[in-house]
Symmetry: C2
Subunit: 379 residues, 2 copies
């Protein structure tokens, strides 16, 4: 497991036993996190970031780990999330393999890997673990809670379970519940892993590892993280160089295939398959309608006292922009002040990781309390 964890990670001991929403509990479980900047005396300048499925807590470089983080462009001194002003915490999701307790961590009670004996994981569990960390750091109320992708779900679960614990909230490419297309994509990713004989009901080793299943799962992920529009402009029908082509039947030939291959190669050994299955399924299960007698909007309206910025991407097929609009509408129903931005970024769901021309000014102005940019700052 050590190979998955960034240098300079810190650990927080979760209260024990930590009860899980769907049953079971964790004992002596830890949560990995990193932080930037300093908590002020009033303890009111904290920003918590909850992540998508695969990122670690290493959102940006710091002294203990100068490697660039997954949101390096957004986070640091003078950046949109200004660490000279804010005390920023990024937590590795409960269930992930990047340092937090999960299927790839050791069960302290048995001394063996959890594997599939890890209890069923829900988005709410991840939110409760993150909240325990925040309280453990001595923070009663966050200034801002930021969630991207799966983290958008986690942020909503946080606000629903702990009313009033975040003065503000930025929800990026999130969803109030999973819709059937996304469920189908994730189900197929999980099936590719499960069908790999080397998955072996979760009992794999480094030597006998479900590499084929992870490869398919990741490529299918990348297919849904980007957009046809972006790829059209970026790859067209350009072929790979001859010397890079595979000399086997039906081998890769087009540059877009080579791009997917590069993503798969970097990922298959860098993320634990069982953790992938647990986190993926937790997204399918998440449904704010549980908090609103069957209505997503009513569920969201239970959130009070949080000023929100909700951002979606018009080319996102995995968390389509209608879902962020729904979040904004639901929050508004609860008398929360809400701004909703729909960016026309060509990069699909992943735009928040690349389209900083749009994301930087929107997040910067919201955090600075200077209002919001126009719906498309690049128009």
């Amino acid at each position: 497991m050590g190979e998955f964890v960034p240098k300079g990670t810190r650990w927080f001991d979760l209260p024990s036993p930590f009860l899980m929403k769907r049953g079971g509990c964790l004992n002596a479980a830890q949560l990995a996190y990193e932080s930037w900047g300093s908590l002020n005396l009033a303890r009111d300048n904290a920003v918590l970031i909850v992540t998508g499925l695969s990122p670690s807590a290493h959102a940006a470089s710091h002294e203990a780990n100068p490697e660039p983080g997954w949101w390096e462009a957004m986070l640091g001194p003078g950046k949109a999330i200004d660490t000279d002003r804010w005390f920023v915490i990024c937590v590795n999701s409960l269930g992930s393999c990047r340092g937090s307790a999960g299927p790839a961590s050791i069960n302290p009670e048995t001394g063996a890997l959890y594997g599939l004996s890890f209890p069923e994981l829900s988005i709410e569990d991840g939110a409760r673990a993150a909240h325990a960390l925040v309280r453990g750091l001595g923070i009663v109320q966050l200034d801002t809670l930021i969630g991207c992708s799966m983290g958008g779900m986690t942020a909503l679960a946080y606000l629903l379970q702990f009313p009033g614990t975040a003065r503000r909230h930025i929800n990026i490419c999130g969803a109030a519940h999973a819709l059937p297309f996304s469920i189908a994509v994730r189900s197929l990713q999980r099936e590719a892993i499960r069908l790999d004989p080397l998955w072996n009901e979760g009992e794999y080793t480094d030597e006998r590892y479900p590499e084929s299943g992870m490869r398919i799962a990741r490529k299918l992920g990348v297919l849904t993280y980007r957009s046809a529009l972006e790829w059209h402009g970026r790859f067209g029908r350009v072929r790979m160089d001859n010397e890079l082509r595979e000399d086997e039947p039906f081998g890769l030939e087009f540059q877009v295939e080579s791009y997917l291959e590069g993503h798969a190669k970097r990922f298959v050994r860098a993320f634990d398959p069982n953790c992938y299955l647990y986190l993926s399924r937790s997204m399918d299960w998440f449904d704010t309608a549980e908090y609103g007698e069957g209505s997503v909007e009513r569920g969201l309206s239970r959130i009070h006292g949080t000023q929100s910025l909700v951002i979606g991407i018009s080319t996102d097929i995995l968390f389509p922009v209608e879902q962020q609009e729904q979040i904004a509408e639901g929050l508004a129903l609860g008398n929360n002040k809400v701004a909703f931005l729909a960016f026309p970024s060509p990069q699909g769901h992943d735009a928040f990781l690349v389209d900083f021309d749009r994301f930087d000014p929107a997040v910067r102005r919201f955090l600075a309390g200077e209002g919001l940019p126009a719906s498309d700052p690049l128009d």
Copy 2:
């Protein structure tokens, strides 16, 4: 192979040797087809249908096979494609396993299955084989050539290779070349099959068959044949009945997963994996820009003397509607009379197989020479 071929199929002997575009040739190869109605004395009432990747030539029932065909609602006496008036031929694509020569057929020269020794297959080969059949039936000029999905590519290849051989042309959910998103989807489908150890470089048997690979390939196909919008309305977040749920880790739980499972179960043993690979790749390779010095539109403008109806679906993510618009624009450049219809059907790429309220009147009026319905007949 027999199990894949519908009852009542007829066979046509292709000229021998049949040269393939990318090299190699077929000897004593056959093409499977079915027909409805009668050829008139002037031999000018013939309609040819070229199909998508998986359908057989059994587009509709007839005396020799009363089973409903894949376009039963559109084809028959008094229907949109009226077999009282037209002599309709549907051809099983060259390379398919539904009766035509392909990787799953016997090589007459060796007495063994072709398997991967079948020569590389291009869309143009399929079009030339279909044209040979039409000539073999004594028809010099078709009244109408109809192509759906992959068949839309085949129809364009037919018109480019045999100018003036179709007075009219209906292109449904087709494309003038494959774009990177579709290439990526198909590449991933092929990779799922190739990664299945039981594919065994194309040397599988009924007992040792790449069922897992075909299952993933088919489910990924169905994901791209339909639309998120349709599934949202159809499945929502409804769960499967408890007794239908799989009692295994990460087993299926939502109805949309059960729907995909049903599609996979019906398909994996009903289509030959090697044929799937050959036909899938032929779509990636197809590019009308080869006929226009690198320009798709100029390539299409080489088609002359054909009146065309081009139909696309606004929710199609595999052959997006911009691609049908491009076909219409390219054909218009060649001074062909062209009508373009973009239907807002929620069913995505597969709409032509289900949304007959829109497809019936459009095809009916075009074939009857009565002009065209408004862009959306249901508006």
